[in-house]
């Protein structure tokens, strides 16, 4: 990471350390949305990072946004940060200015007819109830469009994901103006998936680093048989395995951060690899924490429940493994070793 990214990361970490403790995460799950934290991040440009200033963004690269999202993952920040940054990328792709406030992108069974009526249902839009603007992907005939609508214009059924974060279903029936509808092709929609997967990858990497630190800390504190459980080889070996997967995840995530525009093949590698690590590491984290880690009172669940949710979002590891495998096999130009070394 470059020096600027280090600074961005430190700034985000400081803000989240100060304002996103475990109690904030717990309260958010009870419905107490940390609006002040959102304002703090927004005022410092962290919610529009990676989008050029001419479009109302804070400038910087997509990789810079990923640096912030790793910190958000570390602190389990219960905010539509990834959602807003992703929607911002979509608008940037479409050459549109950013509106004020949190946003989310949603894709489901929605159509836009010739009279400009947007109609259909979108399931599972993260943080939709906290957003001001929604970007809805819809079919207009055989083609895709993105419609920018006010969040308050849709019917909303509240739900939550594995992590207890807001995840709502949308019932859309709204008249949209032509100037709020933008054509997008399949490649554009695929880019959304790739960006989303990159974001969840780095968030998982952050959560994994934090979970390892928390588990090591717990093993050093917790005493059984007259000594810290960290002194038992059985525990040490498990935590060493944990560390190997965290290190691999960090490396895969940082590969994305140092790229200005992420390469989809590196996102496939990251989402597949980190998604695999998430399951392995969450299991070890819970095993080492014992029963206390299986409670809502203990903060480990903030991280592990998010790992379980995020590994399935924007394509689980099997999806990205197959996609990566097929991409490698489709390239007849090079043999595997040439492909691997070309990836750097």
């Amino acid at each position: 990471m470059n020096e600027e990214q280090q600074l961005i990361g430190e700034m985000a970490r400081r803000m989240l350390d100060d304002h996103c403790g475990p109690e904030v995460v717990d309260r958010a799950e009870q419905g107490d949305y940390p609006a002040a934290l959102w304002t703090l991040l927004a005022d410092n440009g962290l919610t529009t990072l990676g989008i050029e200033e001419a479009l109302g963004g804070a400038g910087g690269t997509f990789g810079d946004a990923l640096v912030v999202l790793r910190e958000a993952g570390r602190k389990a920040a219960p905010l539509p940060l990834a959602e807003t940054l992703l929607a911002g990328q979509v608008l940037s792709l479409l050459g549109q200015k950013l509106p004020e406030g949190p946003m989310a992108f949603g894709q489901g069974a929605v159509t836009l007819d010739d009279e400009g009526q947007l109609k259909g249902a979108v399931h599972g839009v993260k943080f939709a109830r906290h957003c001001k603007t929604l970007l809805v992907a819809a079919k207009r005939g055989d083609a895709w469009v993105i419609c920018q609508i006010a969040a308050e214009s849709v019917g909303l059924t509240e739900g939550k994901d594995l992590a207890g974060e807001a995840r709502d279903d949308l019932d859309v029936l709204v008249q949209v103006q032509p100037e709020a509808c933008f054509a997008i092709d399949e490649a554009g929609l695929d880019a959304v998936l790739v960006w989303g997967a990159a974001m969840r990858s780095v968030m998982m990497a952050g959560a994994l680093e934090e979970a390892l630190a928390a588990t090591v800390g717990y093993a050093l504190e917790r005493k059984q048989f007259g000594k810290a459980i960290a002194k038992f080889q059985a525990i040490q070996q498990q935590l060493a395995i944990f560390a190997t997967h965290v290190a691999a995840s960090t490396r895969a995530a940082e590969t994305l951060m140092v790229q200005g525009e992420v390469a989809s093949i590196d996102v496939a590698i990251a989402k597949a690899r980190i998604g695999e690590a998430a399951g392995i590491c969450a299991e070890i984290a819970h095993q080492v924490h014992g029963a206390i880690g299986y409670t809502r009172d203990h903060r480990l669940n903030h991280l592990t429940r998010r790992l379980w949710a995020w590994r399935d979002a924007f394509g689980h590891e099997a999806y990205w493994q197959e996609r990566l495998g097929r991409a490698m096999l489709a390239d007849e130009a090079g043999d595997l070793w040439q492909q691997v070394t070309a990836l750097g």
């Binding site: 935590l239 190997t244 290190a247 096999l329």
Partner: protein, 376 residues
């Protein structure tokens, strides 16, 4: 308290690609060996001499001794190309990776003059003498010992699992030169033992695959002149430990099963099922990330750092990956298994147990990682 480990993204400089092309060209012209990406599985003195003629043994060593004066990252490129191609690197491997650098760091000027040119020419090959019949992971428990005699030392004992000792000329041997004290790591020294010296006997041991690649070697009143002691007597442990990051973070720690994966990929060129494509993608993702981690460490080594914990971590993760590849590929073979794939798979299955033993067992490595995490 837990400290993060350092795998900061690093890339091989683009200008190394011409070197990579040169190595590939050299390897493409090679015809008289069967590829095997396990670095321990092939040894050919002829190949090592041809390779040396290109200037690729001792390529990072000072030009004053005939070395190439090139960077550690350049060596990384050459090394990974050799392994990916499955070249028979066994003869020069240890001398190039370990014995030469050891002499450069701790040897006398006379030793450098005497031993390095032969290594660089691909004429003299080295073994490592560490394990003994009663000493495996607990290296400090060695019993091979030497007592001082006029002009040198008298060596007695035995070393085991020494790869290619029957082809090699010298063995850098860890020996107890003073009785163990409370600090078990004191009192050890490293000797350069000519394998053809009086009193040295080599006995081959067939490995599980039926190949004779490792040996037991016996020392029976072997005279070691003072000028064959590497570094200060008693400094052996520190010297052995100083090379671990080089030994453990290189591409040989995750490429041993590469040929299986490459042949598997070739066999899927005309169509892969969902499961096959998924498995191939999973194994490629692991490989790419491992290589990137290894290059991160190579860059730290190039910068003069000694990231021992990170190196242990790569070896553990890489070895686990090498063990995984044959275990899962065998379940998703195409209906007609091409001969190359079948052969690579059989070889890999038979060699796999050694991957997580050689150069530090999985359990020892995980102990080191645990230490790095602050657990012990």
């Amino acid at each position: 308290m837990f400290q993060g480990m350092n795998f900061a993204p690093a890339q091989l400089p683009a200008e190394l690609e011409s070197l990579r092309a040169e190595v590939r060209e050299f390897l493409n012209a090679e015809t008289d060996w069967q590829p095997n990406s396990d670095f321990n599985a092939g040894a050919s003195p002829e190949f090592s001499r041809r390779f040396a003629a290109k200037g690729w043994i001792g390529m990072t060593w000072p030009k004053a001794y005939g070395g190439g004066g090139r960077s550690f990252l350049e060596r990384y490129v050459v090394t990974e190309e050799l392994l990916a191609a499955g070249a028979p690197v066994g003869c020069h491997w240890i001398a190039d990776r370990q014995s030469g650098p050891l002499l450069l760091k701790f040897g006398t000027e006379a030793q450098k003059q005497q031993f390095l040119p032969g290594i660089i020419a691909g004429e003299s090959f080295y073994s490592i003498g560490m394990s003994e019949p009663d000493t495996g992971s607990d290296l400090a428990s060695i019993r091979t010992s030497a007592v001082q005699v006029p002009g040198g030392w008298c060596l007695n004992g035995s070393k085991i699992w020494t790869s290619n000792a029957h082809l090699n000329h010298f063995m850098v041997t860890l020996v107890r030169t003073a009785p163990a004290t409370e600090n078990r790591h004191e009192g050890m020294s490293q000797f350069i033992v000519p394998i053809d010296a009086d009193g040295v006997t080599v006995r081959g041991i067939d490995n599980l695959a039926g190949e004779q690649d490792f040996n037991q070697i016996f020392f029976d009143d072997v005279f070691i002149a003072d000028d064959q002691v590497v570094g200060a007597p008693g400094n052996g442990w520190a010297q052995v430990m100083s090379e671990l990051a080089y030994e453990r973070s290189g591409p040989e720690r995750f490429l041993s099963a590469f040929r299986v994966l490459a042949e598997f990929g070739k066999s899927l060129q005309n169509g892969a099922t969902e499961s096959q494509a998924r498995l191939y993608g999973q194994l490629v993702a692991h490989l790419v990330v491992l290589r990137r981690m290894s290059i991160s460490i190579a860059s730290l080594l190039e910068a003069g750092l000694m990231p021992d914990t990170e190196a242990a971590l790569i070896k553990d993760l890489g070895n686990s990956y090498e063990r995984l590849v044959p275990e899962v590929v065998r379940l998703y073979l195409p209906g007609q298994v091409p001969k190359g794939l079948a052969q690579a798979l059989e070889e890999c299955v038979l060699h796999a147990p050694s991957f997580t033993l050689r150069g530090g067992t999985r359990e020892i490595l995980r102990g080191m990682i645990a230490r790095g995490l602050g657990l012990r």
